[in-house]
C-alpha cells in the first residue's frame, strides 16, 4: 500500500478511535450500572462515574431468588460444554466420512446434509419443539442439548477442511496398520487441533448465547439458561436495575475470558467459516 500523508493518517486514526469509543461504551455502561445504586442509574443527576463502586452488588445478584443466577450459570456452562463436545465429535466424524471414506451412496447422503443447511434451526423451532415434546423432553437438559447437536453446517465445514488434509500423513498411518478409526484418532485429529479449537470456540459462544431454543424448551426456572434468566429479569414487574446489570455483567465474564485467551482461534474460525454469530 502506498504511503499516505500525515493528515490522512491522523483522520484514519481519529475515525477508528471514535468508532472504538462507541463500540466499548455499552460495556462501560453495563459495568458502571452494575456497580451503582438504582438511584444512580435512573436519577436525573446521572453522572459518568457512580459515587462509589459497590462490589456488594455481586453477592446481591447471586442471592436474588428470581434470577436464580448461580443455577442459570451452571445450566449455561453445562449446556455449552456438552453441546460443543457433542457437536464437534459428531460433525467431525461425519465430515471425515464425507471427505475421505469411499462409499456408494456418499453423494446422496452429502446432498441430504447440504439440504439441512438451507433451513436454519431458528426457522424450524416449532417442528423441533413438537418432536421434543413427543419425546417428553420439555424442561430437560437433553431437550435443550440434543436437538442442536446435529449441525449440518459444522459437518460441512469439517468436510471442506478434511478434503485439504494431506493424504500422505494418512497413508503413513495406514502403512503402520491403522484402520479408518485409528487414522482419524491418531493422525487426523492430533494434526488438526487448530481447526478443532476454532470450531469449538465458535460453537461454545453460540451455545452460551443462544436464546430462542432454551426459552422454548427450558420453561421451568430450574432449567433456565443465563440468557433466559436475564430476559425474565429484564421484563419482571419489580426490577432491581443494578442487579440486572450485574447479572448481565457476570454472564459475559466467561465469554470475555474466552475472547482474551482464544481470540486467535475465534478469528481463524470466523474467517474460515464465514457464518454463525
Amino acid at each position: 500500500m502506498r504511503q499516505s500523508g500525515i493528515p490522512v493518517t491522523v483522520a484514519r486514526y481519529a475515525a477508528l478511535v471514535v468508532a472504538t469509543v462507541l463500540f466499548l461504551l455499552p460495556f462501560y455502561l453495563m459495568l458502571r450500572n452494575a456497580l451503582a445504586t438504582d438511584r444512580e442509574i435512573t436519577g436525573v443527576d446521572w453522572t459518568i462515574f457512580p459515587s462509589s463502586l459497590r462490589w456488594g452488588n455481586v453477592a446481591e445478584a447471586f442471592a436474588d431468588p428470581t434470577a436464580n443466577l448461580a443455577r442459570a450459570m451452571f445450566n449455561s456452562a453445562f449446556i455449552a460444554v456438552t453441546q460443543t463436545a457433542g457437536t464437534v465429535l459428531l460433525s467431525s466424524m461425519a465430515g471425515y466420512a464425507l471427505a475421505r471414506i469411499p462409499f456408494r451412496y456418499a453423494t446422496p447422503i452429502f446432498y441430504a446434509v447440504l439440504l439441512t443447511l438451507m433451513v436454519p434451526p431458528a426457522v424450524t423451532f416449532v417442528p423441533s419443539f413438537i418432536i421434543v415434546s413427543r419425546l417428553g423432553w420439555v424442561n430437560s437438559y437433553q431437550g435443550i442439548i440434543v436437538p442442536v447437536l446435529f449441525s449440518g453446517f459444522t459437518a460441512f465445514l469439517f468436510r471442506q477442511y478434511f478434503l485439504n488434509f494431506p493424504r500422505e500423513l494418512e497413508e503413513a498411518g495406514r502403512i503402520d496398520g491403522l484402520g479408518y478409526l485409528g487414522v482419524f484418532w491418531r493422525i487426523v485429529v492430533p494434526n488438526s487441533l487448530g481447526f478443532f479449537a476454532a470450531i469449538s470456540v465458535i460453537t461454545a459462544i453460540a451455545s452460551w448465547n443462544q436464546f430462542l431454543w432454551p426459552l422454548v424448551v427450558g420453561q421451568n426456572p430450574s432449567m433456565w439458561t443465563v440468557q433466559v434468566s436475564l430476559s425474565t429479569l429484564m421484563t419482571a414487574q419489580t426490577i432491581n436495575l443494578h442487579q440486572v446489570f450485574m447479572a448481565a455483567l457476570i454472564s459475559i465474564v466467561p465469554l470475555v475470558l474466552v475472547f482474551v485467551f482464544l481470540q486467535r482461534y475465534l478469528v481463524q474460525g470466523v474467517a474460515e467459516s464465514g457464518i454463525k454469530g
Binding site: 500500500m1 455502561l29 440434543v146 436475564l230 448481565a248
Partner: protein, 291 residues
Amino acid sequence: MGATPAFWLFMGPFLAGLVVFVYLPIAWSFVLSFNRAQNTVQPREFVGLQNYLDLLGPGPFLDSLWTFTVFAAIIVPLTFVLSLLLAVLLNQIAVARAFFRSAFFLPTACSYVVASLIWKLSIFNGVRFGLANQVLSLFGVENIAWLSSVSPPWYWLVLATVRLWLQLGFYIILFLAGLQRISPELYEAAYVDGAKAGWQTFRHITLPQLRTTSVAVLLLNLIAAYQAFDEFYNLLGNSSLARPPLVYLYYTAQSNQDYGHGSAGAMILAALIVLVTLAQNRIYGFGRPET
C-alpha cells in the same frame, strides 16, 4: 474394517440425529400444518389449506413479513457499508491494528439478550433517564420514548443499533480476510497506469476483488435478519409495532399452543428461505460443493 462399515460408524450417529431432529420434525410439522392442532401436537382434524390461508390473508403474519422486509432494508445495507468501511480503515493503518480489531470484535461475545438489556434499560430508556436522552437534554431536546414512539418510529433506531453493535465485528473480520487476499501487485499495476490511490482504486480493484466476500456478507446478513428474534422479543415483546416472523410464531406456538397455525407458519418461512437459497445458488454458487 472395510470402507462401508467405517462410513456408517463415522456417519451413522450424525445421520440418525439429522433424521430424528431435523427431517422428522419437518415432516411432522408438514402434516400438522394441514390440521387443527390446538393444545396438542397430534393432528386433530384435517382442515386442508385453511391454516395457510389464515396466515396469508391480511393479518399479523403478513405484517410480520413486512416487518422483516423493513428491517432487512435498514440493516443489510448499513451493516455492509459500515463493516466494509471499518475493515478498509483497519487495513490501511500500520500501528495498533490488532487493538482496534479486538475492540470491534469484542461485542460479538455479547448475546442479544445482554445487548437488548443495555439498550433498553440504559441507552434508550425513554422515561426520564438513559444516555441518549441525557445527551439530547444537553441540546435542550425533550425526552424521547424510544421504544413506544410510533411517529417517528424511533424503535427502528434502537433495533438497528443493537444489531450493528453485535454484528459489525464479525463482518469486519470477513472483509479483512477478503482484503488481505487481494494481491498488492494489482494496486502497484494500477498506480503505474496512473490511477490515484483512494476512490479510483477502491472502485476498480478493491470492490471487484471483494465480490465473493461481499455476496457472502449480504446473504448472511439477510438470513440473519430473517431469523431475528432475540432483540425484538426482549425490546418490544409481543408488540404489534414490529413483530418479525419468528416472534409471531413464538407467540402462536408457545402462548396460544396453536401448533396447526404455528406449523403452517414454519413451513412458509422454511419455503421462503429455501427459495432464497436456491435463487442465490443459481446466481452465485455459494455453498455449491467443491470437489
